[in-house]
């Protein structure tokens, strides 16, 4: 696993988290380089299908960054999002995918240091969890051996 480098996708809201990540840069806060950032106007724009697609595309972890409650540039985007993300995590867990692979953070434009910390923590965490084979090695191949798995599952 030593050579394993997690691939992490971060959806950052333009007004708080993305700006916070910018601040981490301007203040030269060093952090792990395994995160790839996608800019969105608001955490409320992030559709669950983004997260699922990111996993499909080989992400081992996903982060969504939004404004702190009450600070949303669009009043309530992060509140709406919070309900969805809570549910997504519950769903992943129920399907047998570690919900820790999907992280949400409230990170304000002034929290460059926090952003750096979040990236490092999440990267370490995902490293521990290992690659998300779940989606990766899927294809018809799986079909056959899932029969046995099914047996294991006691069905």
């Amino acid at each position: 696993m030593a050579s394993f480098r997690p691939r992490i996708v971060a959806f950052l809201c333009n007004w708080c988290s993305y700006a916070g990540a910018d601040l981490a840069g301007t203040t030269r806060k060093k952090y792990r380089a395994d995160v790839r950032v996608i800019r969105v106007p608001c955490s409320g724009r992030v559709d669950p299908s983004f997260i699922i697609k990111a996993f499909e595309r080989g992400a081992d972890g996903v982060i969504v960054g939004g404004c702190h409650p009450g600070d949303c540039h669009y009043v309530s985007g992060n509140y709406n999002a919070r309900r969805r993300f809570y549910t997504v995590r519950k769903l992943l867990d129920f399907m047998g995918i570690d919900s820790e692979r999907f992280q949400v953070t409230w990170c304000s434009a002034s929290e460059g240091e926090k952003w750096a910390g979040v990236v490092n923590d999440v990267t370490d965490l995902i490293e521990k969890l290992g690659p998300l084979e779940a989606f990766k090695e899927m294809g018809r191949a799986v079909l056959s051996d899932t029969r046995e798995i099914e047996g294991v599952a006691g069905e």
Binding site: R5, D22, T26, A33, R45, R57, A59, V75, G77
Partner: protein, 666 residues
């Protein structure tokens, strides 16, 4: 076929020191759709920009990605640039390889790989960018001010003197608001009326000003630059054109009602002008208390009126106006009397509130400026002032500080001492909050020069015995319970939101806190804006405020309005939501999650049956482009320009198989 140009910036050594920019440009040149990829020292510099502009022409680029600093820094710059170079300004994207990469990573290999992958994502995105035109919304150069207190008057004056036609709506029969009720104002003790009434007159006489008194806002529709407001002019029952304000009707009117303006210390008539300096100075009939309207007889005013101005058949009228911006200045009210039974507030005649005291001090007030006990008209020898009545009191559901009481109480005690030289003034307080220019000195004056006694502690009870009042409380500094005989007790009654504030907020789609104070867009950086574009706040309707703060906020609100109305058209970024009507299933989830009310319902013919069904339509003038409506749209009928599903998808899609720089980064 997409023709993307990639421009990698060194940013001097800021990027180049950590990112192998040459490799990045080289890798980018192999990305699908990329026809041109170069690196340069400073892309934002003049030569850098020229380089891009030329490439756009030379290679007939259909999209541009600049790999440099944060888009929050230079996106506008490069949009302007490509715009000038003949490409649609929204066909440029920026890959942030400085703030998000070179400045936060040390390993050159990793940083380079990350830059390349980030760049690839944005190349994929830009290939799906669509040319967008800025949204231009016409602006109605007229403003509405709701509330005719000092906040509304100040905002109105600033607007008309800047040449903006302004409509002011006031619910009472005269403008002037609470400030008109005050006697002298802290910390200068200058007469409130003397500084206010000139403004009232100046505004009312200004050719660009239209004033509705005894009127209310019925409804507000439309959006920034294009509001439609319905104003209900309540029936005045007096023709103000004919009326000469001779006052005969008022003099002869037999029906008496406690005067709101004088805080019920005296009566007014059913046909009345709230106060002598009122604007307009002409009366209205309060139908609820008018004998003619309640019993159908009397009619004295009609008989005596020499101008035949009395019109019993007058009825409410609703006027509709178009305005470009709205200033809310509805002010405040005092807490309800019932809240402090233990102080006898509303029960004991000689327990009065701050505004009643103001009226008493006022030379034009019911006592002609004499401070007397309402019960017997005697001059009180001992007056106890109680602060924080309805402020900072959790058990009464009023945890906030009303901000003005400390100062007006100090002022009251002074006014009292100035009028009753041998009188004793006590003030119960929790803390004295005098943070304002000259405020602390003012309070000090009350203590040092006027010998006002400050007692730190809360009052538990005010009761009357043998005709005298007793104020029972604690002096927490001496640690004793104390009881003071008082002839008059003045409660520094706290500030609460104006009656009807919540209803108005809902009409305006403006937020409000649980006390009914309107919410500003940002507590520090956008204190006069609301989250509804085009609606601004002035004065105590946003939070308790004193006159100086109110006036400055009113000025600020006015200048925001001027800024908004300065252009003929409102130019808005075209990054707004759009509906694909064929996919829309009319569930209107978008409607319920949109904080701006941008989604509307439009009638469309159903393809199969030809019957009309409602579909969602997003008003581009209102949409702020947050995208909250997308995740709730299951068939993905909703899309967001600039952050479209297609663009998001392609960015995510571009993630697959990591890029590794040979020999490095592994």
């Amino acid at each position: 076929m997409a023709r993307v140009g990639v421009f990698v910036c060194h940013c001097g050594s800021n990027i180049a020191a950590t990112v192998d920019v040459r490799t990045v440009a080289e890798a980018a040149s192999h990305f699908p759709g990329v026809v041109h990829a170069v690196e340069y020292k400073y892309m934002c510099s003049d030569p850098g920009q020229k380089l891009i502009a030329e490439a756009i022409r030379k290679h007939e680029l259909t999209g541009v990605v600049v790999a440099a600093c944060s888009p929050r820094m230079h996106e506008p710059t490069f949009r302007r640039l490509v715009g000038k170079a003949g490409l649609n300004p929204f066909l440029v994207e920026m890959a942030n390889i400085r703030e998000h990469c070179s400045w936060v990573h040390d390993d050159r290999g990793e940083a380079t790989a990350k830059s390349i992958e980030t760049l690839r994502m944005l190349v994929e995105k830009v290939r799906r960018n669509s040319p967008l035109e800025e949204i231009r919304v016409p602006v109605t150069k007229r403003a509405l001010v709701i509330g005719g207190g000092i906040a509304g008057i100040q905002a109105g004056l600033d607007l008309v003197s800047a040449g903006i036609e302004t409509i002011l709506v006031e619910r009472s029969p005269s403008i002037g608001g609470k400030m008109a009720m005050l006697d002298e104002t802290f910390p200068t003790l200058d007469c409130s009326q003397c500084i206010l009434t000139p403004k009232m007159v100046e505004f009312s006489q200004h050719p660009l000003a239209t004033i509705y008194t005894y009127a209310e806002v019925d409804s507000v529709s439309g959006y920034v630059g294009n509001f439609k407001v319905k104003i209900r002019q309540k029936a005045k029952s007096v023709d103000h054109v004919k009326c000469t304000a001779c006052g005969l009707c008022i003099e002869k009117c037999p029906s008496k009602v406690p005067s709101e303006f004088d805080r019920e210390l005296v009566d007014r008539k059913a046909i009345y002008v709230p106060f002598p300096q009122a604007v307009p100075d002409k009366p209205v009939i309060d139908r609820e208390h008018c004998i003619w309207f309640s019993k159908g007889k009397c009619g004295v005013c009609k008989e005596v009126c020499p101008a035949e101005a009395i019109d019993y058949d007058d009825s409410d009228r609703v006027d509709e106006h178009e305005v470009g911006a709205i200033v809310v200045a509805t002010g405040y009210d005092l807490i309800e009397r019932s809240l402090y039974g233990e102080y006898g507030y509303g029960k004991l005649p000689d327990v009065i509130d701050g505004l009643q005291f103001e009226r008493m001090c006022s030379a034009s007030g019911p006592t002609g400026g004499r401070i007397v006990r309402p019960s017997d008209g005697e001059v009180p020898k001992t007056v106890v002032f109680i602060q924080c009545v309805g402020s900072r009191d959790d058990s009464k559901g009023r945890p906030y500080c009303s901000r003005i009481c400390c100062m007006y109480t100090a002022k009251h005690s002074m006014l009292y001492k100035h009028k009753v030289h041998d009188g004793k003034a006590y003030i119960f307080y929790i803390d004295v909050r005098a943070g304002g220019k000259g405020y602390e000195e003012f309070v000090k004056r009350a203590v040092d020069e006027d010998r006002v006694v400050y007692l730190r502690g809360r009052v538990s009870r005010v009761y009357e015995r043998d005709g005298t009042l007793f104020v029972k409380g604690a002096d927490t500094l001496s640690g004793h319970q104390i009881e003071i005989r008082a002839d008059l007790v003045v409660l520094a009654t706290g500030v609460t939101s104006a009656d009807g504030a919540k209803e108005l907020a809902q009409k305006l789609r403006v937020g409000f806190d649980k006390y009914g104070f309107f919410t500003e867009a940002h507590p520090k950086l956008r204190p006069v804006e609301t989250n509804t574009p085009g609606v601004f706040l002035a004065g105590a309707c946003q939070a308790p405020k004193d006159i100086p703060d109110t006036v400055s906020q009113a000025g600020a609100a006015a200048s925001k309005v001027l800024g908004l109305l300065s252009a003929d058209e409102l130019v808005r970024e075209p990054l707004v939501a759009r509906v694909n009507e064929d996919l829309c299933i009319s569930c209107f989830a978008c409607e319920s999650v949109c904080p701006y009310g941008a989604p509307e319902r439009v009638k469309r013919k159903d393809a199969v049956t030809g019957v009309e069904i409602e579909k969602a339509y997003v008003n581009p003038g209102v949409c702020e482009g947050c995208g909250a409506c997308l995740p709730v749209c299951r068939p993905k009928a909703m899309d967001l320009m600039g952050f479209s599903d297609d663009q998001m998808y392609s960015e995510i899609n571009a993630l697959s198989e990591p890029f590794r720089v040979k020999g490095e980064g592994e």
